[in-house]
């Protein structure tokens, strides 16, 4: 069977400044990111013939975001569309871009996201269900789903809040080496423990940031990428899977589709967990990261709590994660910056936080009420 292993390249990455920028909009931040990614790639605007977008929570045009962005950028694409899977969108759109360029439906696809969530004060609230809202019982906000997962994981396997804290500490340590990160002051486990409860068993420092910013990645085929200016970074493996049923599945809380997405990505790339040199794991809440280790085969079911102890997931450890700081400390770009950092690690362009000799990077995304998951394996070309 023919596969897309190593046939696609990410040739341009760019991000706007990250933080809180009153006066900016989802659109203006997306445009800034696009310009930076275009410059990074060395392509001309008129060469971009594919445009895939994620409407930020503050983009009023929602599902018609692709039209607004195309008009603003002056691009009339051969291939376009918008998708919203929350934190599962970035990886899904990157995969869609890979399919499009390999099918010949576009040559250079820009995947673009912009959001002014910090300024716009938008809420992330798919947690409350569709019809008879779970809000009747006070169940609301994204944190609640991860708290449900953490509470059950703790009860079944003895996982502790301090172990969750190891993830927050690692993200912050790495952000301290990233001049573009929003939160750069290192934190301790004690500070994690002392931070206020949000939805117990999750503390404030178990939660990601809410940020303004934009991110763009440009995708083409490996053959076209060879003529461009950046070191070659290939998409070796891609996988996606979804659990749409929350209450109907007794393992919904365990996010079982993460394993399916990872297994597909490993299979396409022809690698396994032992081959991963560095990982950018979607961290809306610390609990999410624990489950990635279990589903990715880095440790056994129930053992992720002890797995993350002792500096294993920090730079210099066996499996450094979220080397730019992740959603927790770099900026909450819903996983888009995880892909950017993965590309930069594979270029060897991360300076102080570069994982030396890294050739394979796993990047994961997840979104909505534990519903969406994807995995991308990037490789140094």
């Amino acid at each position: 069977m023919d596969t897309l292993r190593d046939k696609t390249a990410v040739v341009g990455v760019g991000a706007s400044p990250q933080g809180k920028f009153p006066g900016s909009s989802a659109l203006s931040l997306a445009v800034e990111a696009f310009k930076r990614a275009l410059d990074d790639s060395g392509l001309k605007k008129d060469q971009i013939d594919g445009l895939l977008t994620m409407p930020g929570t503050t983009a009023p045009e929602a599902g018609l975001n692709y039209l607004r962005l195309g008009e603003t950028l002056g691009i009339d694409p051969r291939y376009t569309g918008s998708m919203n899977m929350g934190g599962g969108t970035a990886g899904s759109l990157l995969h869609q871009a890979a399919l499009a360029v390999n099918a010949g439906m576009a040559n250079y696809v820009a995947c673009v996201f912009g959001d002014a969530a910090a300024t716009g004060g938008s809420r992330f609230n798919r947690a409350s269900g569709w019809g008879d809202s779970y809000g009747i019982w006070g169940f609301m906000a994204a944190c609640a789903n991860s708290a449900i997962a953490a509470s059950r994981h703790m009860a079944l396997y003895g996982t502790t809040s301090k172990q969750l804290g190891e993830i927050a500490v690692a993200c912050r340590k790495h952000a301290s080496m990233n001049p573009d990160a929003i939160m750069r002051k290192p934190i301790t486990i004690e500070e994690h423990q002392a931070s206020r409860w949000i939805v117990k068993p999750l503390h404030l420092l178990d939660c990601c940031l809410i940020s303004d910013g934009g991110v763009c990645l440009i995708v083409t085929t490996k053959d076209r990428a060879k003529d461009l200016k950046q070191p070659l970074v290939l998409m070796s493996g891609m996988g996606q899977a979804y659990t749409t049923q929350n209450m109907e599945r007794d393992d919904w809380w365990y996010v079982p589709h993460q394993k399916l997405a990872l297994d597909d990505a490993y299979k396409m790339a022809g690698v396994g967990p032992k081959d991963i040199d560095v990982a950018q794991l979607y961290d809306n809440f610390t609990m999410s990261v624990l489950l990635w280790f279990e589903h990715g085969g880095f440790c056994k079911v129930g053992e992720s709590g002890s797995f993350v102890e002792g500096g294993r997931i920090q730079l210099g450890g066996e499996l450094p994660i979220n080397t730019a700081g992740g959603n927790h400390s770099e900026s909450y770009m819903e996983g888009w910056l995880h892909l950017v950092e993965g590309v930069r690690q594979m270029r060897g362009a991360c300076g102080e936080r570069q994982v030396k000799g890294a050739e394979v990077c796993l990047v994961t995304g997840r979104g909505q009420a534990l519903n969406c998951a994807n995995a991308t394996i990037l490789r140094k070309g």
């Binding site: 019809g131 809202s133 009747i136 609301m140 906000a141 449900i148 949000i198 939805v199 068993p201 209450m247």
Partner: protein, 138 residues
């Protein structure tokens, strides 16, 4: 009595069986008329076999705490007097799971795995909300 300001269901033909059941003091869910699957959340069709046939069926009201969280963050002003309050994911004896609250005890008194039984909280003349309690001590 103060007006109840927290979220209420919009009762419709689709969900009336559940809320009428609660007024009668029962957890009442839809049982598929073809495959027998008891489903939740409420839906017009069975997620197992897509049958449109179902009967509203009274359940025992017994279950156990499947997962359990305590909201300290105030996301909706209507819960201002309630924080910190708990939400339990309850595994019902007959198979379905639902979110609800465990009432009558401190938040710290409830653990995953605890047995619970339904109690019914008439919050308005029209709406009774099913909640749960730990079993009465003998």
């Amino acid at each position: 009595m103060d007006e109840y300001k927290k979220p209420l269901p919009t009762i419709s033909d689709e969900n009336r069986g559940f809320w009428d059941g609660a007024k009668r003091g029962k957890i009442c869910m839809q049982k598929c008329g073809d495959c027998g699957h008891i489903r939740y959340p409420i839906s017009h069709c069975c997620p197992k076999c897509l049958s449109l046939k179902f009967a509203w069926t009274d359940l025992s009201g017994r279950g156990s705490v499947y997962s359990y969280v305590v909201f300290h963050q105030l996301y909706n002003q209507a819960f201002k007097e309630d924080v910190p309050y708990n939400v339990a994911m309850v595994q019902l004896e007959e198979g379905p799971r639902m979110f609800s609250n465990v009432v009558g005890v401190d938040n710290d008194a409830v653990k995953v795995g605890d047995l619970v039984e339904a109690v019914f909280d008439a919050v308005t003349p029209e709406v009774t909300i099913p909640r749960f309690k730990l079993p009465s001590k003998a």
